[in-house]
Symmetry: D2
């Protein structure tokens, strides 16, 4: 196996597009279609999304950062703030998009396992009504989280109840919502019921590049068409975003892709379990394995395999992220797990 043939465990967006998505794009390309979403295919897929989520409205945008910013943009005036985990993609990986585009402050909380709780949210509510403080108005959580964990439905309900009783709106970053639904074996509507607005990611789950903003809280939806255009997220040939979601919704391909990726992550965690020097950093629930490895093991592995170091631990250790995708195969995983095992320090060899 050459380096080129080794599957990347760097990210679920290192994968290409699923064949069904490609095929849907071919089909969608035939003939004319009115631009900007006023076409039959877009209408049909939007209707399917609304049905799937029990949603008031659904809108396509180009990427996950845009989904987050535009979703939150339906909720916030610039002096209103978002409570989120320090580890939120929104906070650490979007180059300050929310601050620039919305003008809103992020009120961050260290969140174990990447998950907020009512108590953690409550810890950032001081200063309401005080004009010197940005006013908490929205809570942002990721489902699945950035470290591959999932909120249970009970945890979601607790957060949602807390938000509703505290005058807070709830936004869910669902870049990997499919992986969470697959892990929890629930419907998308089960997850969405707790949110005011959420995103539903296609790109990391087999699409070429398409995300949806799902609005559960109907009055929030009215501003979206204008906001989407002003914030440069209105596709002219919208049918090509719609087609990708059409393919993912068809026969619940989204679930099959996500369940497969999740299973590959579990297989990888099992393959690495017991390797000296390795331990899990977080439970493996969605399609990522976050593990702790010694730095020399990381160095050895990265010579042949593509993945990211997430953080440096104290001492000699690193936290690594290994992600799986819809197209990761058991053979890919097994080859990688074998490589991981090879990084373990050998016990002294028995004398023959």
């Amino acid at each position: 196996m050459t380096s080129e043939q080794r599957k990347s465990f760097g990210s679920d967006n290192h994968a290409g597009a699923h064949p069904a998505v490609l095929s849907a794009l071919m089909t969608a390309s035939a003939g004319d279609a009115t631009a900007y979403g006023d076409d039959p295919l877009t209408r049909e897929v939007i209707a399917a999304l609304r049905a799937e989520f029990g949603a008031a409205e659904a809108f396509f945008v180009f990427g996950g950062t845009a989904a987050n910013v535009l979703g939150l943009g339906l909720m916030l005036r610039p002096f209103e703030a978002v409570i989120c985990a320090e580890s939120a993609h929104l906070n650490g990986d979007e180059c300050g998009a929310a601050e620039r585009v919305l003008g809103s402050k992020l009120l961050t909380v260290p969140a174990p396992g990447g998950k907020l709780t009512p108590d953690l949210i409550a810890s950032r509510l001081a200063g309401r009504g005080n004009s010197h403080r940005a006013q908490p108005r929205a809570v942002e959580i990721a489902q699945a989280t950035e470290v591959g964990t999932c909120y249970t439905l009970d945890e979601l309900r607790a957060i949602s109840d807390f938000c509703r009783s505290s005058g807070l709106l709830l936004y869910v970053d669902g870049a990997r919502l499919a992986n969470a639904a697959a892990y929890l074996d629930c419907t998308l509507a089960d997850l969405a019921a707790h949110a005011d607005v959420l995103s539903f990611g296609g790109t990391k789950n087999g699409a070429m590049g398409a995300e949806a903003v799902i609005v559960m809280n109907e009055p929030l939806a009215a501003a979206m068409p204008f906001q989407r255009m002003q914030l440069m997220q209105l596709a002219s040939k919208m049918r090509f975003l719609a087609a990708q979601f059409g393919a993912l919704l068809d026969g619940e391909l989204w679930r099959a892709n996500a369940a497969h990726a999740n299973a590959m992550a579990r297989r990888l965690a099992e393959g690495a379990a017991g390797v000296p020097g390795f331990r899990l950093a977080h439970p493996v629930q969605a399609n990522a394995v976050f593990g702790v490895l010694r730095r020399d093991q990381v160095d050895a592995l990265q010579r042949d395999w593509n993945f990211y170091v997430w953080a440096e631990e104290g001492g000699e250790e690193s936290v690594v992220r290994w992600m799986t995708a819809f197209d990761t195969t058991p053979a890919h995983v097994d080859a990688f797990a074998a490589a991981i095992r090879e990084t373990a320090p050998r016990a002294s060899q028995p004398v023959a």
Copy 2:
């Protein structure tokens, strides 16, 4: 011919994607690729674009409004303003994106035929150095313009010379740059040489959805990677934007597509010429026919054909826009021209 079979003359973005673009997307999808542009295909197509334009850098974004805003964003601080035509897409059709995203004021000028001149630009230069006035810093022109006309190379040079001698930077909205290059029978580099930054549109010329920002003035490029991420225009699976431009650059497909669309517009203008009640509103140079028709003719035509009324003239007339695309055929044009001719008032009928 049923209504469904009639080609839309509503916009060049009513067309699907060119087969070569679709094919390139299929090919690009195979295997893994590092995200966010750090992949071989993206590097290769960027290199090809830089060579084609003689450019310092090239960046892919999702849409034309984004290209305009991000391109201008390389040039402007928020207290600096853009001089543009009142008819600029930037001014009238982007929902105030430049004002919101950049914070910059647009200083508009009525521009006959959609084209600025050094004199028109000079008319908006009052107040430089006066802190009460937004400071003119960039000039924005569209090539081809929003009304289907093209700046000649001499006109471009005159504007460019004026800008350089006046401390102004020049941005060219090239959503239909290919059509202009085809009309002028020049290279993309010939056009780009006059600009500091320009866009190169793929979407209206056979792509599925991809635009490029081309930076000629090298020091302006350094901010782009961060700005593109912060402004929600960084594609994770970048190879799929690159692949579209790869297909368009291959064998100058961009030129063939544009030249064909331009030819179809000329054919349509010729087909409509002489129809009583019809006259051209602007010369037909790129892939649009802007014509003046009586309202009853417009109403009759719109029963079966898809196109937009651009403006209402005084009296009984409307300005209409008919656009052609890479996939408009002579048969499409001839059928539409026949329909136009049918709207002409009949000569008095012979008495039976």
Copy 3:
């Protein structure tokens, strides 16, 4: 009379503060007061302002541009636009503050005499509901206007009625509202009744530096405390802004100051009337004379007198602005009028 002794006709903000304002500041300075407006004097003056205007709320800010931006900020989301006169201070003299701070587009109309009408407003309403267009949501007018004219109460009512029936909110830039009330001989409440939000200028009418934002439309007021802080307009020692308005409200000093300044402008217009080469550019209603003079007359006058050229006319003429203030005296005016008369071309000299 030396040059230093000549009164400036350059602007009403070339004057110092009225003695009653200075005295009120002295008085207000005694003892402690809780900061940020939570003090008895601020409460008292706010109550007086609310009573005077029949207003829901009143807020102090530092300057006129801030009043305009924060007043409009109560009405607008970034994709919503403001219809205003091309000659609006908001458009031409605030360095693009509204665009930057609010993100909103200004939809300008050439307005004869600086005054909008329902028809002019209606001319900018195209594209409502079209996501490609910034959505008209507020109308901004200045009372008095930037060229010294005043809307009659009937004109205000017509605009107000039009706005209410068209889903538009009305903001009135009242940097010189006192001058308009004095000219129209009406109450501040008479003027305010037509607005949703307006400003009430102190600085140009004898204050040291203080403006008020008056909110008539109660639900709009709730965002102001936060917006004012976030936009850097919350005074810590608020009592000193309140004191200035306290002095201006006391015994209607605001009206006396404004009426006097208006009278001085009329006196100046009368003094200049009939001077060869001079004519009025606009009716003299508030405290400004806008006149047309030959350039050589302007040059001659500006050697000794301080005033601004407003615009260059074609040919040999300029439009000049002469402003009067609360402290302009009849003697100041008469001396200036005499100087104006001296610029007139002499009748041919008798031969000796």
Copy 4:
């Protein structure tokens, strides 16, 4: 002594204006002065400020938040971030002004005693060059800090050296710079030498309402006139801001006021020392005493005295802030100290 007669220890901005400031305002009011800073008094005071600081330029603004935002605004593009203490006024008490107005992200660090160090700054430098991360470009510190401590000149130099060697610009929030200079017994230039831009607060030190932005790094100054107007901080009657600083600079009144306030804080700390239940939370260096008290003591004291609880400690304790001003007298302090002592639990009374 009635409650009204008790001096507030709530904030140094609860004080009025110093008599010399009031007197300077009276004097400045005489006669005309060209607006927006083009007047002799403004020029003279600006020259004096430049000399005092060894600065390239100085600009007046209305308040401390504006000084911070505009000062940082000279340094930052929106994708560039500010490293600051979690306890920074900029972060916690300005309602998200920096995020909204500049679009920039704040990268906060828990900072013991309110003070950053090179190591703390270095801890937020990860991700430079990574387009997913806002790019650290400026460091913000407060001198004196928000908790009444002062950076020594050596500490400032260490930070400054670190910034310069790390491609970072240094902004100093000098709302209480005078108090720091008085504490350190150094010149303003000694402090300013370490900054690229800093603010110099007047309002908390005897002014009515005036702050200065001092630019040490000359090329950064060019944008200020436009930025100040666009961000609503250009005073029309600028002489009245200049006059306040003129009075504070005259005979180093700024230093006398600050030294006095600092001395009153020390006297208060000494008066409270040894009271059972009380301990200092931070060293007393500038004009604030941050102390820890039992809640029942706080409640008892707040019945008669005006001051703020800064934070709740675990258990039964609160952190309180007691601030002194230029007009706090020894008698005020002694009365308050006596009241503090009375909150101490009495030892069991001797039997008579």
